[in-house]
Symmetry: C2
């Protein structure tokens, strides 16, 4: 079967003559307006797989960018994924594997023979290849590495020797470096003859001293602009060196702050060992932002295609912790059972005070976590920000207290204690919203100071604080002035 | 006063001899380990400003990257900011202005004379200059534009004519374009002679047809690698064209998905009008992720240096909305006041059921919002994901119900209805967690389907749903089997 002739029976041809007459523009059909994969296209792939129509499947996959094939895999069930993988050519297979989420990749890798895999991975830059190898099970990893050329195996093993989520893992070892005394012309001639030593794409030339330490860099667009006889030493600017052990979150922060396109990575001796390019960093920025969102929500993402058990594992511990803190918070209510029995209105109003406090705390928390991640909150302005948050809490608290106090008075106006009930609720609300504001800023600041991730445990603490305070404030103030 | 001679009185020199003897490495002192600005450095700047020591101030500012000066401004109060601005040279001023947050920038711009500003902005690419101009008040905007050269004014006015947060605003008009029949050598010679028409940095050459429509592109590292006589037509690859009206969120998604470094922007006629580079997109990705975090928390970021009133305005509406929804939710409690008076334990246990439901709902919601933003959730897999979330809800719900039911039984074991109370709480918990899971996935899906931002209003709805369900389930089940 060739790719040129359609694999249709006569009946099928008759049934869908439009396809034969007007060539489909599969590429235009693949994506929706928001550049997500079109559900209809997923259906077409499933259809072709169901019919066992290899020709059509290859055609459909061929019209997709590898990133879209990876995306497609996420929309398919495991059986169809295996079918798709079998119909990819080796170059596309490598690209698709490097685009897949870890949990999908682990599953897909099981069905790819080691030899095919070794061949495919040679197409990738060392960082991407190492990423894929990292997801293999130990036996298979050995097999695949053994089937690769020595140089590439060594490169991948070096990359894997760096810690997870460090600059060493993000970097590619291929890099364009030149001594200061070279001219632009010499550098360009070197590039023309260098071939595979250079990365597939590069954006800067790093200028190194004789011990291979970076002393500067220049964007290659500046090389192109300069006369051939210009010395690199005259073109270069200072570069931001990334230590190979730096956490990827810091790498992303630096790229964002200084608008870097690529940066040299240096070992502990300060020698150039590779480069990180911004396209790798964009992925990290997305990842870290997602982690913050999910951590604030109390949980983590088990991944796109995770099973029920994995998802339960990622969420149940937080819910159990929440159960424990809530049990402590409601002990305030249990303590005042007699007061509630006397005045059930308290049981109605308490949850409102708690809930508003929780929301106000979450608002402050989200802003604080964001500001910490952007390094916009430090001891240089912590007191100013804390004072400001407390003031905002007071203003919001008083406003909400007036509204809720008034509503309470109206709702219970035919009861003798309506006015005092409104006062109780109003005072409790102010107390809880101010508490929420201060807790919402202090909790993440304290966690950051302790070297912990402020996004991860702040929300549990703030929720506990505002729930407890909501119950406790309503009930103690009621005990004092109402009952 | 020159920059070379220290502007110290004799006393000051005697008081701090170390500075004169050992040259400080200011650049090393400026940043902390996490690349945030060191609080001590902020202190040094405040000190120099307090002493009116212009020389020292210039020295301190000169050691900082413009992005770090912008960062510094965020840590200072308004008076000090004005002082700092006065001590920047025009080139740095332009860079610093383009790095500042909008609300800080608006304030700073008021104190910069129009002529200085016009001069500074000429240093920037058209997109960055337009960004700054956009923050000026109408009168001043006219003055500054009038003081600029015609060509630059026209470029900025064109940029400003595109909608906020569109590709047109992100793009720079300067771009390297060449016809298909040019060779690599011709292209490089063109770059060497073109000068200011080209952007300061560029990463791709776009190949255009005679009507200036892009037909392909090639990274300049590939130009460098190829022999001079190679035709551009033989080097080029398909490019992803960005329509000038595209939303910046979609632009960011495409850059991330296809690992783009730069992309051509085309007008409605398909003609090349500019390019977007990845460094602009990194900022957008950060921005959009922050918006999602803050929207999920119910609020928006009033900005780093916002006053109390602005912050209150960004948060109070959400709290008032929350007050209304809570009032509706607790009406379930008000309806069952007699049951609660009979059995106050219900008032103790209800908030736990509500709170756990709220947390479970938020977990699902955060994952769903993230998946929607990544285009990983569409009608192609919606039912599968909904079924999975419901199953996860059931598993988590049953587990939590067993734990909480057992704890309830132990806590109330000396009361006659302890066992039935445990059953009530357990059943209510399962009902609420399953409701939370389904609501947490359906709410964002429905909002997305309606073309709304799923992050913005989902959490209000899910919180209302789980609070109401928490109260309602406990009380109705109690009314049925307990009372």
């Amino acid at each position: 079967m060739t790719r040129e002739t359609a694999d249709l029976t006569e009946d099928e041809t008759l049934a869908i003559p439009a396809i034969a007459a007007v060539p489909e523009d599969l590429e235009d059909m693949a994506l929706e307006d928001d550049y997500g994969l079109a559900p209809e296209y997923v259906e077409m792939v499933i259809d072709a797989a169901d019919r066992g129509d290899s020709e059509r499947l290859r055609e459909l996959l061929g019209a997709l960018h590898p990133a879209d094939v990876a995306d497609l895999m996420g929309f398919l069930t495991a059986d169809y994924r295996e079918e798709v993988i079998e119909h990819l050519n080796p170059e596309d297979l490598a690209e698709v594997l490097s685009e897949l989420d870890t949990n999908l990749r682990e599953e897909v890798l099981e069905s790819v023979p080691s030899a095919t895999l070794a061949k495919a991975l040679e197409e990738l830059d060392s960082d991407d290849a190492a990423d894929v190898i990292d997801d293999l099970e130990d036996d298979k990893r050995g097999e695949v590495l053994a089937a690769m050329p020595d140089a590439e195996r060594a490169a991948i093993e070096t990359t894997l020797s760096y810690g997870d989520e460090t600059a060493g893992r993000l970097m590619q070892r291929e890099v364009l470096a030149a001594p200061q005394f070279w001219t632009v012309g010499q550098t360009i001639d070197h590039v023309r003859s260098a071939g595979d030593e250079l990365p597939e794409l590069f954006f800067d030339v790093y200028i190194v001293d004789p011990s291979y330490k970076p002393v500067g860099g220049a964007p290659i667009s500046r090389l192109l602009r300069a006369p051939r006889e210009t010395l690199l030493a005259d073109l270069m600017e200072p570069v931001t060196e990334i230590p190979v052990t730096m956490d990827q979150e810091d790498v992303a922060f630096i790229f964002d702050k200084y608008h870097l396109i690529s940066a040299p990575v240096v070992d502990t001796g300060g020698r150039l060992v590779g480069q990180i390019t911004v396209d790798d960093v964009v992925g990290v920025i997305q990842e870290e932002a997602e982690e913050d969102i999910l951590a604030l929500a109390g949980g983590s993402d088990a991944g796109r295609d995770a099973g029920v058990i994995d998802i339960v594992r990622s969420r149940l511990p937080w819910l159990l912790l929440n159960l424990v803190t809530e049990a402590v918070a409601v002990s305030a209510i249990a303590f005042f059972q007699d007061e509630i029995a006397k005045l059930v209105a308290l049981a109605v109003l308490m949850p409102i005070v708690s809930s508003l406090g929780g929301n106000a705390g979450t608002q402050t928390l989200a802003v604080a976590v964001r500001a910490l991640a952007a390094r916009e909150l430090s001891s240089a302005n912590a007191w100013r920000v804390i004072r400001r948050e407390a003031t905002v809490g007071a203003v919001n608290g008083v406003t909400l207290a007036l509204v809720m106090g008034f509503a309470t008075f109206i709702f219970y106006h035919n009861q003798p204690h309506a006015f005092r009930l409104a006062i109780v609720v109003g005072l409790a609300l102010v107390a809880n919203i101010v508490t929420a504001a201060i807790g919402g800023i202090l909790a993440p600041l304290a966690l950051e100071k302790m070297g912990r991730d402020p996004a991860v445990s702040s929300s549990v603490f703030v929720t506990f604080l505002t729930d407890f305070m909501g119950f406790f404030a309503v009930l103690t103030i009621a005990a004092l002035i109402l009952l």
